[in-house]
């Protein structure tokens, strides 16, 4: 047997961490390229919807509603609308990208590679976060056109944006793992995410709600995110800030652990 180039072994980086970094950045840039290529479907819709919300709820109806927690109504709804866009986009990026890779079976390109599960998860989640944050920024720019937009606490604002995007990217991942058809990827956004977001205080302060709805609202995790984010932008919140962070991090830990266990057991991707 002649000693050929193949006897030298694979071309992959010998350093494990550099190898992980190459894998992660490949996945991440593939995800960013994907949603950028189809920006009309991924970035633009949220900008249009939010503009409509500002025009209708902020300008036309908002003036008749009067101030909420001491703020003009149009200013009050900005954080909720931004976060709603972040949630929807982080979630749907991962759910549609991962589900497509399962459906067309090119997930196998990753499964046969030495990439560990946590890198695969991190790559997809980072892609979802990138789209969530991109759309979040676009919506904030739109908000700046309609409202007296300002940021009360930059650190809190950025941290909440990031954590929320991570949490819902993980949610999208779990949804994609269980989805068996393209219909299955819209069930959770329509029947779970949208109601929880609308009832999470995007358009009102929960102080307005009668009992038992006020207490019941506290079981809605999205309420904590919207309020913490509202604190970041406007300096007002229905919920103590630390408690909101605690809830978000707890959910991230739980969904992250669960996602990894799904990958380890090969649910939905390996026979």
């Amino acid at each position: 047997m002649s000693q050929g180039i193949h006897d030298r072994g694979p071309l992959i980086d010998r350093n494990r961490w550099r190898r992980y970094l190459i894998t992660f950045s490949t996945l991440f840039s593939k995800e960013v390229t994907r949603f950028s290529r189809i920006w009309v479907q991924t970035i633009l819709p949220s900008a249009i919807t939010t503009t409509l919300y500002f025009v209708i709820f902020g300008r036309l109806i908002g003036d008749r509603i009067g101030p909420m927690e001491g703020l003009p109504y149009i200013d009050f709804i900005v954080p909720g609308l931004v976060l709603m866009a972040v949630i929807t986009n982080a979630y749907s990026n991962v759910v549609s990208s991962f589900y497509s890779s399962k459906f067309s079976r090119y997930i196998e390109e990753l499964l046969v590679s030495p990439a560990p599960n946590w890198i695969i998860l991190a790559g997809y989640v980072a892609g979802g976060v990138a789209r969530g944050l991109t759309v979040g920024i676009v919506v904030m720019i739109v908000a700046a056109l309609f409202t007296s937009f300002s940021i009360h606490d930059v650190g809190v604002t950025l941290l909440i944006l990031l954590l929320t995007a991570i949490l819902f990217a993980l949610g999208g991942f779990i949804n994609a793992v269980y989805a068996n058809s393209f219909d299955d990827i819209s069930i959770v956004p329509t029947f779970v995410l949208a109601p929880l977001t609308y009832l999470g205080g995007v358009f009102y302060s929960i102080d307005l709600l009668p009992q038992p709805w006020q207490t019941l609202s506290l079981a809605n995790p999205i309420l904590y995110m919207i309020n913490a984010f509202r604190y970041g932008l406007l300096g007002v919140s229905d919920i103590p800030l630390n408690f909101a962070f605690f809830i978000i991090v707890l959910f991230i830990a739980a969904l992250g652990y669960y996602s990894l266990s799904l990958l380890r057991r090969g649910i939905g991707i390996k026979q």
Partner: protein, 308 residues
């Protein structure tokens, strides 16, 4: 050193189907190995387990001495796989498919680029590198799967029916390429329905059926086990009655077609002498069946009798 070594490997799917039953198999480093078997025999399950696409129920898999359970990353780093069915993102350009695969394996970008270019040029795809996958023909997609499998320079390449649905010309050029990488030291495991492919490319062969290895040997030995061969003769003129050709077993198919069985002790020269003596002229001659095909069917049948 063995490239692949499988011990007591079993797989039972969730629906109760037992696809593999205590399979033992060793493939030496540098070998060109054929894995043959009828549909549903367990070939793809075996390959799926080795390439981490299917979870085994029990048993052990080692690739170049790395255990699949203990060092899964090392196992996967050494394998390139060409699956049976297309598994592409159809909206990506050709070059990105190859570069993404390199990235997943952790090949540094610069090396990935030069390796991808070399492979795409060799497989006649370089001019199509910016085309989206869905614009490629079936044969191009097959070749791209080979480029994708080789981009990280694996030491073991597993090809599951790589030339299915590919025309004969492209098939021959793919064979040439596979011989070349094998000569460079890459171990190749091939499953195929074209037995001619196995006969012309591979040195060793295993026949699998009903989830068990029925035989494992080298191709030369296997072929030498063949006792008789049947030829089909196309005759000039019409044959009124079956002639007596001392010792050759004949069967008349129609007026101008004759089938002759030649045993290992007999020669084709002897056959033609006997034909000439009887004034029978032959226009053309062909093998009734691929030799390997016959052996294969014999083995599978024998295996089935044993299991029954």
């Amino acid at each position: 050193m063995s490239a692949l070594s499988v011990h007591q490997l079993s797989k039972t799917y969730a629906n109760g189907l037992q696809a593999l039953k205590d399979v033992d198999l060793t493939v030496d480093a540098g070998d060109f190995f054929a894995l043959l078997g009828p549909n549903g025999a367990g070939k793809s399950t075996l390959i799926g387990i080795v390439t981490s696409l299917v979870r085994k129920s029990s048993g052990r898999v080692e690739v170049f001495g790395h255990d699949l359970d203990r060092e899964p990353e090392a196992v996967r780093a050494n394998i390139g796989v060409v699956p049976q069915e297309f598994n592409f993102n159809l909206f990506l350009p050709v070059i990105e498919v190859v570069l993404n695969q390199a990235g997943y394996f952790g090949v540094p970008r610069r090396e990935a680029r030069s390796r991808a270019e070399m492979l795409l040029r060799k497989l006649d795809l370089w001019d199509r590198r910016e085309s989206e996958m869905r614009r490629l023909s079936g044969g191009m997609k097959r070749r791209l799967m080979i480029a994708r499998a080789l981009v990280q320079r694996p030491r073991l390449v597993i090809l599951d029916e790589p030339t299915a649905g590919v025309d004969i010309e492209i098939r021959r050029s793919m064979w040439g390429f596979m011989r070349e990488i094998n000569a460079e030291g890459t171990t190749i495991i091939l499953t195929t329905h074209y037995l001619e492919e196995a006969e012309s490319l591979c040195r060793h062969i295993a026949i699998i059926d009903h989830g068990q290895i029925q035989s494992r040997t080298d191709i030369a030995t296997l072929l030498s086990e063949l006792d008789t061969e049947t030829f089909v003769l196309n005759l000039k003129g019409r044959l009124r009655e079956l002639p007596q050709l001392g010792g050759f077993v004949l069967e008349q198919i129609d007026e101008s077609t004759l089938e002759v069985q030649i045993s290992r002790e007999q020669t084709i020269n002897g056959l033609f002498e006997a034909l000439s003596r009887n004034g029978i002229e032959v226009l053309s001659l062909r093998n009734k069946q691929n030799r390997l095909e016959k052996l294969f069917l014999d083995r599978v049948e024998a295996g089935r009798e044993v299991t029954a």
